[in-house]
């Protein structure tokens, strides 16, 4: 920890505190609105919420489920935050996730005879490469041809999903090809379970490791500094001789790769094989996670935890109260809207602060 020094803590102390308060307010407001919606459905919102909480945290199994749901959210949250720190809007995490899942599946199914110590990291790497390629394309299209990453990522999402559908229905379908799914991954490419008799797998620890790497990279490395400068002020980056174009490509590659890991861990840790719908929208949830977390490491963990609870507890809420599990999408959307709506508070605060500082 010594390496971080105090700078990042002090540096963003006041802004961080303010952001945290804003995020918490936004989440609280979103939950309040959601409870009103649930009440309108004729269900006691308190009961629904407590069912959700007990489904997500009530026992060992529930906690394990929350960790399982958190894992891809951490990856996609990091992915969005990383690109955003460089001034890019990566809406393509869903597609990058699918590509990561596809590559990991190919590595996990078709490389027999490898020991776990080699096969497992190799398959993770394959997932990273799959997503990374998908991100890299976006970076190159932006830098070389001036194509907005917002639109290209949106387009590439569908392309990736269609590609996965094609693959599981044809080239990598499980023989004899009755179902739209791949063969199961070899055991040597499966992520070990970390809590006995649950689905919690090693992926959560890998994801947390990546949160740490994300932190180290952006705030303690020279490359990370370059990327933050490029994102905050591209003109200043050019002025200091930073190669912003190369950084855009690099960041999209890394962001894509991290999103690809979300797909890889889903396949390797949860589903065990590739289905045409690997992700129920984890790629888009990552945007919300990063937004709530204000692109900070701890914030992302908190955001992923929150959405992990929603995803894990949603099913038990539906079973117990009949509130459709789709309500969690509504809650998520309201959370996002609340966060962006309250973002203006930050600006107002800064403006109010300025005159005093000027006198100093």
């Amino acid at each position: 920890m010594q390496k971080f020094d105090k700078i990042k803590f002090r540096n963003n102390m006041s802004t961080a505190a303010r952001q945290a308060i804003i995020s918490i307010l936004a989440v609280a407001a979103a939950l309040a609105i959601s409870m009103i919606i649930i009440a309108a459905m004729g269900v006691d919102p308190g009961r629904a919420m407590s069912k959700m909480l007990s489904g997500a945290l009530g026992n060992k199994n529930a906690v394990a489920e929350t960790l399982v749901k958190m894992t891809p959210l951490l990856f996609t949250g990091i992915s969005y935050a990383l690109a955003n720190r460089c001034g890019l809007t990566n809406i393509g995490m869903e597609g990058q996730l699918y590509m990561g899942a596809l590559f990991a599946t190919i590595s996990g199914v078709y490389l027999p005879g490898l020991p776990l110590a080699i096969h497992l990291p190799l398959t993770m790497l394959a997932g990273f490469v799959g997503g990374g390629i998908w991100g890299w394309i976006v970076g190159v299209l932006k830098v070389r041809f001036g194509a907005s990453e917002i639109i290209t990522t949106v387009m590439l999402n569908t392309v990736a999903i269609q590609l996965v559908q094609f693959m599981v229905n044809g080239p990598i379908t499980e023989p004899p090809g009755n179902d739209a799914q791949s063969s199961p991954l070899l055991d040597s490419a499966r992520l070990p379970i970390i809590l006995k008799n649950t689905r919690a797998h090693l992926g959560i620890l890998i994801a947390l490791l990546f949160v740490y790497l994300f932190w180290m990279f952006l705030w303690s490395s020279k490359k990370g500094y370059e990327i933050r400068v490029s994102g905050q002020n591209p003109d200043a980056a050019l002025y200091s001789g930073i190669n912003t174009k190369r950084n855009v490509v690099l960041v999209m590659l890394l962001a894509g790769g991290v999103a690809g890991l979300a797909g890889a861990t889903e396949v390797m840790g949860v589903q065990g094989r590739l289905f045409p719908t690997v992700s129920p929208g984890y790629g888009f949830d990552g945007i919300a996670v990063a937004l709530i977390g204000a692109n900070t490491p701890l914030g992302i963990v908190a955001g992923a935890f929150l959405f992990g609870i929603l995803r894990a507890g949603g099913n038990s809420m539906q079973r117990a109260t009949g509130v459709p599990v789709a309500i969690i999408k509504v809650i998520q959307a309201i959370v996002i809207l609340m966060v962006v709506a309250t973002a203006i508070l930050r600006e107002v605060n800064l403006r109010r602060k300025k005159p005093e500082a000027k006198k100093a």
Binding site: R144, I151, F166, G281, A288, A343
Partner: protein, 308 residues
């Protein structure tokens, strides 16, 4: 004779398939020209598919169902404008939230009202209207001039939107807001009002497209039934180079791709279905990257404007 029938049938279904996308794309185009990017078209259309079915079910009138959908679309537009124009929130992020919201809300509300039942509004479906004389043109007559009224309406909107944008004072003002809001402001145009209006009208058109998809094409609501049509509409706007006619042609091309793709499995084609469905997205990337000549998006698209 058979070939002609197949082609005629294909053209006819192309127009029908194109209609929801075209309506969505025209809505997006209007917003885009006013400087707003709406990734959330998919979500708005999805909510509209549900509202239209529910509205039709309760009013027993498919047109009233569509009006309900458009009203809800307008409200969503109002919210979008409030967040992105007044609060200057990131348009892309709000759009993403709208998509999530649309997917969640449509399902939740459907379950609330109808449980797990399958609700069909076939009894109140739009009737086909034939245009006399024109209908009897060989080859294309039946395809073009024996359609549901909404189809005519959507295609009629193309010249209307085009005329509005390029031939009326309000259209010029709207374009100026999308190109340079600051300049428009100095010329006395209320940038916020303009963007609110464009968003509300645009979202109503998207909702109309969604309504036609559920009540016009499939007579029912299914979860996630828009199946990326909102994104295809987004693609069509770019592929059509931000011009109504171009957008129309792009929509027809993409819808044709969808029609062909749906046809493929039944004729045991060697070309995989998924590859055909990818085409609109890949074409759009190709156009965006400037491989087919430069397209110029409205200069201020996606950027919030702050009044002085």
């Amino acid at each position: 004779m058979d070939v002609i029938n197949i082609l005629g049938g294909l053209l006819s279904s192309d127009l029908r398939m194109a209609t929801p996308i075209l309506l969505g794309a025209l809505g997006l185009l209007i917003m885009n020209r006013a400087g707003l990017i709406n990734i959330g078209c998919e979500g708005i259309m999805l909510v509209a598919t549900f509202v239209a079915v529910a509205g039709t079910y309760y009013t027993h009138n498919v047109w009233l169902g569509m009006v309900c959908a458009m009203l809800v679309g307008g409200l969503m537009g109002l919210l979008f404008a409030f967040l992105t124009v007044s609060l200057r929130a990131n348009q892309v992020v709000v759009g993403v939230a709208f998509n999530t919201m649309g997917a969640g809300m449509s399902t939740v509300l459907y379950r609330m009202l109808f449980g797990m039942d399958f609700v069909s509004v076939k009894d109140y479906a739009f009737t086909h209207v034939s245009i006399p004389v024109l209908k009897d043109i060989p080859l294309i007559g039946d395809a073009l001039f024996h359609q549901m009224p909404v189809v005519y309406l959507a295609f009629l909107l193309v010249p209307v939107v085009s005329y509005f944008l390029f031939r009326t004072p309000a259209g010029l003002n709207l374009r100026s807001v999308g190109e340079n809001p600051k300049a428009a402001d100095t010329l006395g145009i209320d940038v916020y009002k303009m963007r609110y209006a464009a968003t509300i009208v645009g979202c109503m058109l998207m909702a109309m497209g969604g309504a036609f998809l559920s009540t016009g094409l499939l007579n029912s609501f299914q979860e996630d039934m828009t199946a990326n049509r909102g994104f295809i509409a987004l693609a069509a706007v770019i592929f059509g180079r931000y011009k109504p006619t171009g957008v129309m042609l792009a929509t027809m091309l993409f819808a044709f791709g969808l029609a062909v793709a749906n046809l493929l499995p039944s004729i045991n084609s060697p070309i995989p279905y998924n590859f055909v469905t990818m085409i609109p997205y890949i074409l759009t990337i190709v156009v965006l990257a400037g491989f087919a000549g430069k397209t110029v998006a409205p200069a201020a698209a996606g950027k919030p404007y702050k009044k002085g």
